[in-house]
């Protein structure tokens, strides 16, 4: 669905660069243990195919590793970083566990909800932002924080959130766990 929005080719196949990267990853593990490459390959696939893992994408990854599709599905649904439904271009993940809560995470979540006019788990109508709450990301000393793409944005205030969202909007690019955004803290 998002493929159409982005006007991209819908054929499920890694680019030559991504395929080379996948082969490099598989070579890290002993002969016959190529299934070990599943998590890194799913990260790569999610990054290549619009930020989520469709059944077709998971089947493709299964074929690359010569494993059964079910072995991919059961893993993709276990780990919280894998999206099995489409998400907005910027997946904003706000940590809400104890140490972040002590430093005002609830207020940050409430602020973003109001600003983007969405609930947690929802995507803005323009497909730009999805808001998610997550559990401890190891940023307790710089709380409250959010992750978007590979970046951690820390010591958040409503003003910093405003700046960040503005920057994401201007950039218009899809974020990925495998890429740092061109801007760090607002």
């Amino acid at each position: 669905m998002l493929n159409e929005i982005d006007g991209m080719n819908t054929e499920i196949k890694f680019s030559p660069e991504a395929l080379a990267q996948a082969q490099k990853i598989i070579a890290r593990y002993p002969q016959g243990k190529q299934k070990s490459a599943l998590l890194p390959l799913l990260h790569l696939a999610q990054s290549e195919f619009d930020g989520w893992l469709s059944p077709e994408v998971m089947d493709y990854v299964a074929s690359l590793l010569s494993i059964k599709p079910i072995e991919v599905y059961e893993v993709a649904t276990f780990y919280s970083m894998f999206n099995t439904k489409p998400v907005g271009k910027c997946l904003i993940e706000v940590c809400q566990t104890g140490p972040c809560w002590l430093r005002g995470a609830d207020e940050i979540v409430a602020y973003i909800k109001k600003k983007l006019n969405i609930e947690v788990g929802e995507t803005t109508a323009d497909g730009m932002f999805t808001l998610k709450t997550v559990e401890c990301l190891g940023s307790c000393g710089t709380a409250p924080m959010l992750q978007c793409g590979a970046n951690f944005y820390e010591n958040l205030t409503p003003e910093k959130v405003d700046e960040l969202i503005e920057k994401f909007r201007t950039s218009g690019k899809r974020t990925s766990y495998l890429r740092l955004n061109e801007f760090q803290n607002a």
Binding site: G98, L102, G141
Partner: protein, 436 residues
């Protein structure tokens, strides 16, 4: 100022590069071990040092190494646990981000001791930006002859890879981590067999925390006996403490084990006191899984002795009046904090992170979250408190891995020390105020 073994050069510009790290004496332990020591001699030094696993369990690292099955004809593996996910803990992230070569050096020296020819660093997926930092450091180590074939001209060879997870607290449990590294769901394994006999790919494997492995170079360089002189009793050496919550100076501090808790909280060298001029209410001293203690019991033991930052002193009094050093995730709460609400965030965490394999944990963590949610939102009943305790007792000790215990202990301890607050919450008919 306490002695620094891990963070001594942390503020040196360029310490993340091979060149500067080497100039500051980095990789000396690899040279010493590979050229002048047998693998068993390295293990012996780690045993003598008294180093205890820094991930949270505190098991003697040298003893863990000595369990590795040497009769097996299968390859041996060293796997670094960089899945740091215990709420309140961010020390490994700091270390890997700022001084990645220290971990790489530790991996080489430790792999040599264990006879591993291939080693992996399993890092939580959310730390993806650190994967790049580690991979750059590994590339530099290869380029300078510290990794790959015939390291430093010796007959020892090692390949080292970084493997990202994808969001699952449970993968910090060592057998779940190995399952995950094999490309499966992170369901902990039944033990025995232990990883030392049948770990990664059913081969002999040691899994150690980042900080544990990063401490090995210091031990090899200074000798185990010298390392053991730092600290108190069976709490030897230095420890990284992640300090968070209502303090003036949150951050990662390297302490010599034995620093008084009071000094750690109030001195300018460490946390710098409670923020906004408020009073201390409670502390979770070793990551969210360990029992919470009220101010009086964290500063002094029930016997009235000053509480120290050691494994033994923090656990003095057992669970009735003590806690644990755990991972060193030191979470401080000021007088305005709602213990009920803080516990609710922990219960939500454990419910979210339960792998679902064992019924007591899968169902029990869900019920604890639900009950705490209604207590916190003013829909609670008086009997909820006893139901919570009952559920926590039915999880504790009845699961394959320690996540069940980790979910139960915070609940039991919060009610033990702050029962009145739970009773007030049960009688309230409106949501508790969010702390300001």
């Amino acid at each position: 100022m306490g002695r620094k073994l891990l963070l001594e050069h942390i503020n040196e510009p360029g310490i993340n590069t091979f060149e500067v790290y080497r100039k500051k004496g980095g990789y000396a332990s690899v040279e010493k071990a590979l050229k002048t020591m047998t693998p068993d001699a390295v293990t012996e030094e780690v045993k003598k040092s008294g180093l205890r696993g820094r991930g949270g369990a505190g098991f003697p690292a040298g003893m863990k190494w000595s369990f590795i099955d040497k009769k097996s004809d299968k390859p041996r593996y060293l796997v670094c646990n960089a899945d740091e996910s215990e709420p309140g803990t961010f020390k490994d992230r700091y270390l890997m981000e700022r001084i990645p070569h220290l971990l790489i050096e530790g991996m080489i020296t430790s792999s040599y001791a264990l006879g591993a020819k291939t080693s992996y660093i399993y890092i939580r997926g959310e730390y993806m930006y650190i994967v790049r930092i580690l991979e750059k450091a590994i590339d530099e180590a290869y380029a300078n002859g510290f990794l790959g074939k015939n390291i430093l001209g010796t007959d020892y060879s090692l390949d080292l890879y970084v493997h990202p997870g994808a969001g699952a607290y449970i993968c910090g449990e060592e057998t779940a981590l190995l399952e995950s590294l094999e490309g499966k769901r992170g369901n902990p394994r039944l033990k025995p067999p232990f990883p030392a006999v049948a770990g990664l790919y059913a081969s002999p494997t040691v899994v150690n925390n980042v900080e544990t492995i990063a401490t090995v170079p210091a031990i090899v360089n200074m000798t185990g006996d010298e390392y053991a002189k730092i600290g108190i009793g069976k709490s030897t050496g230095t420890k990284l403490i992640s300090a968070s919550g209502h303090i003036n100076k949150p951050g990662v501090y390297e302490i010599e084990l034995g620093v008084p808790v009071e000094e750690f909280i109030y001195s300018e060298e460490y946390c710098g006191g409670i923020w906004k001029g408020r009073k201390l209410k409670a502390v979770v001293a070793g990551g969210s899984s360990v029992p919470v203690l009220p101010a009086d019991l964290i500063l002094k033991t029930a016997k009235g002795e000053p509480r120290l930052m050691t494994y033994e002193s923090l656990s003095d009094g057992g669970f009735a009046t003590g806690t644990m050093l755990g991972s060193g995730g030191f979470i401080v709460m000021d007088e305005t904090t709602s213990i009920v609400q803080n516990l609710y965030t922990f219960a939500r965490f454990y419910h979210h992170e339960s792998c679902g394999q064992c019924s007591p944990c899968r169902e029990g963590t869900g019920w604890m979250e639900k009950i705490l949610h209604r207590l916190h939102h003013g829909h609670g009943k008086k009997e909820d408190i006893d139901v919570l305790l009952d559920v926590s007792k039915k999880i504790e000790g009845n699961t394959i891995c320690p996540l069940g215990d980790a979910a139960a202990w915070p609940v039991a301890s919060a009610i033990r020390h702050f029962r009145k607050e739970f009773e007030e919450a049960a009688l309230a008919h409106e949501p508790l105020l969010v702390n300001s």
